[in-house]
Amino acid sequence: MEVTWIALSAALVLAVSAIATAWAQSRIGAAGAAALAEKPELSGTMIILVAIPETMVILGFVVAVLIILRGGGG
């Protein structure tokens, strides 16, 4: 039972952070596409801006790994 909760918690952490990242990237991506249509020279900056919210899912991944390893599920 405990292993189930550990697995569920890790999955929840990853899922929520992934959804948050996806939502943020969708907004930034849409705005970025509009900006690039007018200023193609911003492409480098836009790639970076789109990559910024990925911190959330990466930290979510790290926390999920910690939950599994520290919780004894690994």
């Binding site: 790639i47 910024i52 990925e54 990466i58 991944f61 790290v62």
Partner: protein, 627 residues
Amino acid sequence: MIIPMVKVRVLGPRERIDDALGALQDFGLVHLGDASSLAWLGSPDVGPREQRRQRYVRRAVDDLTEALKFLGDVPRPEPPVPHDQIDLRKLVRSARRVAGQARSLDARRQELEDERRELERYRDFLVAIRPALERLAGSPRLTSYAVVIPAGSRTAVDALTTSLRAEAGPDFATATRELAGGDLAVLLVLPRAFAERLESRLAESRVPEIPMPAGYAGKPIGEVVPAMLQRIESVPVELASLERQRRLLGEAHRRDFARQRAALHDWLRLADARQRCGVTARAFALEGWLPFARTGDLQTLLRDLAGDAMVVEELAREAWPAEDAPVVLLNPRLFRPFEAIVRILPLPVYGTMDPTPFVAVFFPMFFGMILGDIGYGMFLAGIGLWLHHRSRPGSVARTISEIAGPCAAFSIIFGALYGEFLGDLGSRWFGLQALAFDREESVMAALAVAAGIGTVHVVLGLAVGAVTAWRHERRHAIGRGVSGVMVLLVIVVLLAALDVLPGALFTPAVVALLVSFPVLVAAEGFLAPLELLATLGNVLSYTRIMALGTASVMLAVVANRMVGMIGSTVVGFIFALLFHLVNFAIGLFSPSIHVMRLHFVEFFGKFYSPGGRRYEPFGHWHPNQGA
């Protein structure tokens, strides 16, 4: 590094202004500023005649560019024609006439190429049915039809031909040939008595018919086939003739047009530079920046030109703001490709730090830490070498190949440290052992290393920020330094609390933190603690090195498992290979983006001052420079 620049002011008699500008244009190293706005100077008058002339020259340049677009540009034109030898009116007329001729030749060529493409689709069919048609030509009893139908209508045509064969008997025959693009061409041979019935049958059976090429529709097939075959032969001859005319047109005008356009561009640049000069009734002054090391050359040049009549004055560094100075990055050969990464952001302000050397060290290192696989690293090295071999010096492809080299080297080094060759294939096939730790098993070790390297990188950024700010904003520099120390202290406190470091360090580190806190607030203000928290968040951001690396190795392991999971070994091997290729592609793209982000956001954020001006020295025009 950002090469040291010096701001100079050139003073001379007003009547020698064009001589001075001409010499500077030949010198080609002075980035001109605007001296016309200086308080004691005015800007040179440009009369209506001069303005008209400039407008006319600009239009002539546009006409020449348009003509050269059709004729093919000259990458390295010969020295420009002296401007005063150009008859603008005649030149514009000639450019427009030649552009018109080239344009109509191009349009005709496009038409012929379309026609050839269209006719080529039918070639096999026409060649195949020609003998039958020649035999039928003398037959009073039989006639023929050709129809082109979409591939999807084959069933309907089959049903129709079966029914016609039943009615017309052995005299009915068909030949079908697939055309390029999938359509079907069908030749129907039948007694003349059935000819009227055929059209109604075609309509009834709802076979969609694709029209024959324009000019051939509605004509008897006996006439169309020889005409189309003849055209297939004659179109390439016409195309070759057009190509010859075009080449002759280019040879006759391209070189002259290129030289004259370069001369007109130079003249416009000179006119623009004249507007940047400040003048009095008798004198002129111009200002600009040039590399410090070339100041002596400029002085010699102007002394040779005008003796004591012209003076080059160096302005003190305090007399001009750093934001106005142009920026030139100059790095050792090994680091130079990484300037391309720095240039994604606006250039750094003059007088600040050029981060290229740091990027050249940390970018490939972080990339290698993430990809960390001997096999992928070797593959990347191979791609880099191939790209290097195929690219021209200075091209984007060459720069990418030169960045790929160090990235591949670090990938191989970290692959050896992690014991990875195409995931776990190395350990399974050759007994490859990790020299440091196995990423697949030791996730916590990878996490600790990533956080550790993040700490080093962020603290280095703070240290660089402190050093850069020390000259102008000492308080800010102290704040940066204290922030760096506090980040290190926080890490020590955490590690001591987790028993990674001796517990004895805990109390001194906490005391040091408490002492640093007011210093930080005094130096950077009340928002500094928030900034410190953000800096600690920056350190955590480096855990992406572990996260992406773990994902990469897991995907490689899954690819290897495919060989055993799928029944056939061959199919499994192919799937595994494809999966490795996908993982490799992800392994190139994802680390590049994330490592760039770590540099631009986490590292550069501590010291980088964007907003430097591009160095655009006043010189002769070159086709690669655009307008």
